[in-house]
């Protein structure tokens, strides 16, 4: 691109163009395009560079680590206990070895936060929640589960039907290693078909109850049924979504 030489005599000021407004509006348009297509661009970056390098790039794979209390409860593998009680035939307290001795479920699924960030292809390992419920035996009249965290602040809930979904697990391995403290280790919940806030960290207790009690985030305005497709009914109309 070339411009004609400046020929205007010094007495006459050179013509001016509103470059500022144009650049400003172009940047704003770029931002809008980014909002509209950012999800696809991000997937492309993830696919093109993999999660290793993708994690270093802006918009790449990052867990944003959340904690309600501002700290992480530190629970050692040895001291870890999962209490299961309520409307069950056999209230039990499981050690991490007890959980590991149960049939293992492993899969690779995204971690999708309700606020918009996503970590694709996270490797999960644990035991299906439905198996734990089978071990303790759910009594008649039970309709829901409540979950407690070692952080003494977070809580969650699932209906009994939701708890029996095959990709709802009590996870003790994540990203190919034991679940770290920041990710909710040694043991956390992973509810694959729902947004991340349903996957309670530092899982300490499960109560089987006769009515659904909204958890911490639900009391702060998040849907009780936080399906990834944005629906909020007790059942997900699209089970193939996850």
């Amino acid at each position: 691109m070339s411009f004609p030489r400046e020929v205007s005599p010094s007495s006459e000021p050179p013509k001016r163009i509103n470059v500022g407004r144009r650049v400003f509006l172009s940047l704003a348009a770029l931002g809008a395009v980014g909002v509209a297509f950012g999800a696809s661009i991000q997937n492309f970056i993830g696919n093109a560079f993999g999660s290793g390098l993708g994690g270093l790039l802006p918009g790449g794979d990052h867990f944003r680590i959340y904690s309600i209390t501002g700290t992480y409860p530190k629970v050692s593998r040895q001291n870890y206990r999962l209490k299961v009680s309520g409307l069950v035939h056999d209230a039990r307290t499981f050690t991490i070895e007890d959980l590991e001795a149960m049939p293992k479920t492993a899969f690779v699924k995204n971690f999708q936060c309700v606020t918009g960030w996503k970590v694709p292809d996270v490797h999960w390992e644990g035991v299906q929640l439905s198996h734990i419920l089978k071990v303790v035996g759910v009594k008649k009249g039970a309709v829901a589960l409540t979950f407690e965290s070692y952080d003494r602040a977070d809580s969650e809930s699932l209906t009994l039907d939701q708890a029996h979904l095959p990709d709802v697990i009590v996870a003790y391995r994540m990203l190919g290693a034991p679940v770290t403290t920041e990710h909710g280790g040694p043991v956390r919940l992973y509810v694959a078909p729902m947004f991340g806030y349903k996957s309670l960290k530092w899982l300490s207790a499960i109560h089987v109850v006769d009515q659904e009690v909204p958890g911490f985030w639900e009391q702060n305005g998040y849907p009780v049924n936080g399906w990834l497709d944005g629906t909020v009914g007790p059942k997900n109309p699209d089970p193939g979504l996850t």
Binding site: P14, R16, V19, G20, V35, F37, G59, H62, I65, Y72
Partner: protein
Amino acid sequence: MTLTQATSETVRMLRFDRVQRGAHWITAALFGVLIVTAIPLYFGSFFGLVWPRHLVVQIHLWSGVALPVPIIVSLLGPWGASMRRDVRRINMWTRQEMRWLKTLGETPLVADKFNPGQKLNAIFIGASIVIMLVTGSMLQWFRFFPVPWREGATFVHDVFAFAIFAVVIGHIAMALTHRGALRSIFTGWVSESWAAKHAPVWLKEEKTGSDAID
């Protein structure tokens, strides 16, 4: 005139008035807080144990909401004449200025009050404030937006955060290597000889009372 004895070294010109300096430094302070709080939020894995995240989030959120306020307040109202004039300067470019920027300073330039690089910095920061405010609001008040938009907003917020960080580092580096310009954002004043060298169009305008912009 009483200034006939003065040399161009000692004659001072007001480059930034009190309102502009105030707007600059409050905006700079808010950007500083936003960048410092963004680091542990973005790289949570490394900083999460040290920082009470919810507090950091609140500081980041409200600094972000406040970010456009000093500029808007300085532009509106009877105190904003210089600010409004400088916005017009930053908006209007000669072809010579565009060419100077395209050739990265290799072509001749009779500089305005701000050189094209400074103008571009101001335009970028102005657009960034709007983009970060909009995408940040989408992340904070996400339930009004569909999930793919939230993902897109996260992406844009992240990418612009990196760009802003780079531009701010560049801005500070240029300021530290251009002492005359740096002094003027603290005190408001430059010498006439500085203006003759770095901003001849502006100097001529101030001397003659002409207006090259409008």
